[in-house]
Amino acid sequence: MVHPFVEIQGLAKRYPKADNGEELTVFENANFTIDKGEFVCVIGHSGCGKSTILNILAGLDEATDGIVIMNGKEVVGPGLERGVVFQNYSLMPWLSALKNITFAVRARWPHWSKDKIVEHSRKFLKLVGLDGVEDRKPSELSGGMRQRVSIARSFATQPQMLLLDEPFGALDALTRGVIQEELLKIWSETRQTVFMITHDVDEAILLSDRILLMTNGPYARIAESVKVSIPRPRNRNSVIHHPGYYRIRNHLVEFLVTRSKALSGKISDEDDGETVVVDPAATTAAVVSVSQPPLSSNDSQQEKMAR
């Protein structure tokens, strides 16, 4: 039997409550898989525990229940085979842009020569369009440039899986768009497995092969797995003209605005908590109603709320 690259089984996170001893379940029964080379996004409202899932995958947090299996081995603790890009960049402010990357490269390949480390690091800095600012400290870079350094750092160590925690959340919309395309470009070259958290519906559609939708917490769970069957290569302009784009988008927005709440709470006995797989872009998709006209004023209103 062939196992998927990453397998998450029955993952749950519960915090013991201090005052009455009753525990708080953030999410439970999270089951999903990620194939090798797949780009998976997770969308859900704040507090549904998506960052916690990412931290568990990164090994920085521990699950109360369930296991994460990657490459046939259980994930215990953090490791170099999983690279993380944090929302607040997490660059060392006392190191220059280049040194921030060599820091990671040296940790990954300790036996490499100094020249090789620098050369490898420069290559990745160039890949995110940052040649010329190697010697600047993060405080001398804009938010977008800092996040580019952070992305370059994680790609430079060539992890088997990349974990991105709302990497563009702190950036303005224009910068975000540019870096999204850069991320797509690097990703299409390396074809790394990516697990990314986002609040941005358009970002998720542009980047991912599959979008996991989480219900609201507490007792959050992964309710749906939405296929994004828009052919690659994609870019911000072409993707919106694909006939399936708004069907996927409307499906996501509708989920975030209404169903994420409706489906929230403890799983009832008759519901087995299975993740429903949907493919709104496919013409035969019957699961979702896509009757709303795309881009109605009402829709964009909802989308703002969803963000």
């Binding site: 990164a58 090994g59 920085l60 603790g77 953090p78 490791g79 170099l80 999983r82 690279g83 993380v84 944090f86 607040n88 997490s90 060392m92 402010p93 006392w94 820091f103 990671a104 940790a107 990954r108 400290k137 993060p138 405080s139 160590t157």
Partner: protein
């Protein structure tokens, strides 16, 4: 605008100095002699019957004399100001760096381990408020050497600000940076050296700056007690000699050296400072 502000501030400083020195000079003039000195008084060298604080002109004249030959050595009771200051600086630096060698590693351990913090905290809280001079008798008895006892007193007073600041700096290193170290599988030692140390360095340096300030305050008192050499001993010795001009001169020198020590450490801080 900045240049003019600086110029104006300098000018104002000079005005303050002139006014203060002028007032001091006027207040400390010896009274006019109404009667001629008697033969006996002349024989006694014309000594005045009333001691008074010397005017700044006398202090400046003495300062010029002392500073033009700061390193003369004419026996235990008569050494140049440079030698006395050098002894004090030497004791302060030895005590200070010994304290740093102990306080910074312990501060690291306390900062990284909440268990160690809780276990050590009561002792730190009890030992910290003890006046360093209170250790002097015990130090003299155990060490049996006044020089080493003075250094020990500096050591004990320098240790606390460095220890607490290191622990605080280490404990408050941003979690994100520690997470970066974790996800890159850095060893504990490498994490401490390449992530936590540079991140906490500005806080540690602040602790060192506080420590050296306190050490310089304490050395004067310690040397008054142990005697022999040093600026503290010099002040007390000149008081015993009733040479108030020397006392005032050495007070200023203590201030100037203390400022220099502080400036040296604040310059070092600039090397490890970073902007987020």
């Amino acid at each position: 605008m900045l240049a003019t502000l600086n110029a104006r501030a300098t000018l104002l400083s000079l005005v303050f100095l002139t006014v203060a020195l002028g007032a001091w000079e006027m207040a400390c003039q010896p009274p006019e002699k109404s009667v001629a000195l008697s033969e006996y008084e002349l024989l006694m060298g014309g000594a005045e019957q009333e001691a008074r604080v010397p005017p700044p002109s006398a202090v400046i004249a003495l300062a010029y004399k002392e500073l033009s030959d700061p390193f003369y050595d004419a026996g235990p009771n008569d050494k140049g100001i440079g030698i006395q200051l050098a002894y004090s600086i030497y004791r302060v630096l030895v005590g200070f760096f010994l304290a740093a060698a102990v306080a910074i590693p312990i501060g690291f351990v306390i900062g990284m381990s909440p268990l160690m913090y809780k276990a050590m905290n009561p002792y730190i809280q009890v030992l910290r408020p003890i006046s360093p001079l209170a250790w002097m008798p015990l130090a003299l008895f155990i060490i049996q050497d006044s020089e080493a006892s003075a250094i020990f007193v500096i050591f004990i007073c320098s240790i606390w600000p460095m220890l607490l600041n290191t622990a605080f700096g280490v404990a408050n290193v941003r979690k994100d940076w520690v997470n970066v170290a974790l996800t890159h599988e850095l060893s504990q030692v490498r994490t401490a050296l390449t992530v936590i140390l540079p991140a906490a360095a500005p806080t540690i340096l602040t602790g060192m700056r506080i420590s050296i300030g306190i050490a310089w305050l304490v050395i004067v008192a310690a040397e008054m007690l142990v005697g022999g050499t040093g600026i503290g001993y010099y002040v007390w010795n000149e008081w015993n000699n009733l040479d108030l001009a020397s006392v005032i001169f050495s007070i200023f020198m203590i201030g100037i050296v203390g400022m220099a020590l502080d400036l040296a450490l604040s310059a070092t801080t600039r090397f490890v400072q970073y902007k987020e």
